[in-house]
Point group: C2
Chain length 387, copies 2
């Protein structure tokens, strides 16, 4: 039919920063050369600046899930008890990993769509003083909810447990003061706010987590934080690095630092606020009643309409990828992302497309009504006066 | 300060077709090899299919202006009379080129913003039976106007003159039946509907034009159609070809053929109709009162506002490139392009951005009002019923 440009509007992989893509074209270099070494060294330095920590940030060649598993195998020993705090599909993944290594699991569970209350984690820690760790997400991608990381960290800090945070979606979409709040293990992923393709994950450990790591006896080989730290200090990657992704990351980190991590977060938060205002203007129900994530907005499909139909229409009409609910919310919600390299015109386009899709499915819509609500958020932030 | 993605919304260079960009990465090949030869052969064949002609289409390594000059030097002799039909900056360029070669020029002029009447060209031909050529644009990019090519061709056909058409913007945005209408010289450019970067131009000649070419005695060397035709028949480019652009063109031509040239034109025409509806919904005055081009819509800046301010705001707020008026219309109009690799979501984004820009400049605007008018055009074309 007509021209349809591919658009990535999913909460990962996210749109790519073009200079990062271009940098990947320089991948025909060997990684044991001074040229690559210089890029790698700068990446290691810039990762620390972007994470906002003085600790090492270890880049691993893996998907996010591999880094989650690595955090478990590098921080715990057979039979250790961990508290898994979960309110969504990625929380459940922590439980699956802990189960795969036969750890003793205490679940702190909340329904999909709710944030985890810090008190519930505190109670679990109180009931299980033997707990060696608390595993959670900073933002639960499957539901579009942010968890109260700071408050939970305050509950974990006085205990022997370490707080292990999957911040793959959280980094760059919410404030995470790693050292100030005492976040012990922080995991990031290349395909989110880092604006590059999937394939790299990042892990940073606190002193408390490094101590735990030195005692951890779960079996591991490829993912070995102590060896990775030595490698980072020598500037020589332990295994063959993903050359193209490191080159891309070098460009993206430079951009993120130019923008400022605070501005990157503010960008996502403003887009999220505009998205929520749009959805409400269109009469749609937000799935996260409180503590919505700035990474992704989850929206209930209108009554009688499977959310999969909306996702399919985005694909068929506009070659755009938005995402369905995950786990138990599949078919009930759709999710619009606004993290990383995403801007207002893209949001306007997405909302205008959604309005057409709703109309095509027989839902009454005022064309432009959702867009106008998003424009009002931009105008207010940009100091544009409206009549 | 927030993230701003670069957006090309100019009537050339236009947005690039990604697989064409990716193909450019294969440029480290020599052009006198079987591998490149195969690509080049297919490009020559596909160009004919996309132009819709059985005649050769010659790819030249040049900007469009070079191809315009080449058409003059390859078709005329010292002292020849040419009728230059002009109603804009690119029409004036024909006059400049003809003047540089000291041809005798008869101007058929209309004000910026108007189409050229076929009768005026017919009268000039009648008054100057010695005229060897008529030089014109298919679509005048500077004003966003389409000229009545078919009617003018009908006036030129019975005379000795050849009709030389700069269709750089016209190709892919309007129907041009080269052989059916008798268009003698047709010029295209890579950076328009061909969706690739600037650097290539394309020329196709009718039998009548080839006859003229065989008699033409203006001085020339690099641009020599007869040598280029021989080169095309041998499959060996006469000079070093722009390897990266030929590789890109190969991908783009494949895409255009999959889409269909008719659909490519229809895509631009529908986007143009939606743009015009939007501008009118916003209370803005269209510059082309009749025969608007589907390539680019020119719009008068609101009273008291220099159009340069709108262009600057697009750049500053959204990193987007739209264009000012050219020649005598600079500062008075702005131009929104919708040719080539351009789709509806991009248009929605552009219009929402324009609404914000007008509001920022104190022009009363109903947010979403322009977007809604464009959505209505999409809905109608896509058979979406609205309440």
């Amino acid at each position: 039919m007509y021209i349809k440009k591919q658009r990535l509007l999913a909460p990962g992989p996210t749109p790519l920063y073009p200079p990062a893509v271009h940098a990947m074209m320089g991948s025909d270099i060997h990684h044991r050369t001074a040229g690559f070494q210089a890029v790698y060294d700068r990446v290691l330095t810039d990762l620390k600046a972007v994470f906002g920590t003085t600790q090492d940030v270890l880049p691993l060649v893996t998907s996010g899930t591999g880094a989650m598993e690595a955090a478990v195998t590098n921080c715990f020993s057979p039979g250790d008890r961990v508290i898994v705090a979960t309110a969504g599909k990625f929380g459940e993944r922590w439980a699956e990993i802990a189960k795969a290594y036969a750890l003793a699991i205490t679940l702190v569970e909340r329904p999909y769509g709710e944030p985890l209350p810090a008190e519930a984690v505190a109670e679990a820690l109180h009931a299980h003083p033997d707990a060696k760790g608390v595993l959670m997400q900073a933002a639960e991608t499957s539901t579009g909810v942010e968890h109260p990381v700071r408050e939970i960290a305050a509950a974990v800090r006085p205990t022997q447990a370490i707080l292990v945070i999957d911040a793959i979606t959280g980094l760059g979409t919410m404030r995470l003061d790693i050292e100030g709040w005492g976040l012990d293990v922080i995991i990031g992923g290349s395909q989110k706010s880092f604006m590059i393709p999937p394939g790299l994950a990042f892990v940073s450990l606190s002193g408390k987590a490094w101590d735990a790591s030195s005692r951890a006896r779960l079996p591991r080989f490829y993912f070995d934080f102590i060896r990775e730290r030595k490698a980072a200090h020598s500037g020589e990657p332990s295994w063959t690095p993903a050359v193209s992704l490191i080159l891309a990351l070098g460009e993206a980190l430079r951009y993120i630092q130019t923008l400022g991590m605070g501005q990157l977060i503010e960008n996502a938060r403003l887009l999220a606020a505009a998205t929520r205002a749009s959805m409400q203007a269109l009469g749609l129900e937000l799935f996260a009643k409180s503590s919505p994530s700035a990474a992704v907005t989850s929206v209930r499909a209108p009554r009688g309409l499977d959310s999969g139909a909306i996702i399919q229409e985005f694909h068929n009409r506009f070659a755009a990828t938005i995402t369905n609910g995950q786990g138990s919310m599949k078919g009930q919600i759709f999710r619009l992302a606004h993290l990383g390299y995403y801007d207002f015109p893209e949001l306007f386009a997405t909302i205008a497309a959604l309005e057409l899709i709703l109309a095509a499915r027989g839902i009454p819509v005022d064309f432009g009504g959702g867009v106008a609500a998003a424009q009002a958020v931009y105008a207010s932030a940009a100091g544009i006066r409206t009549a």
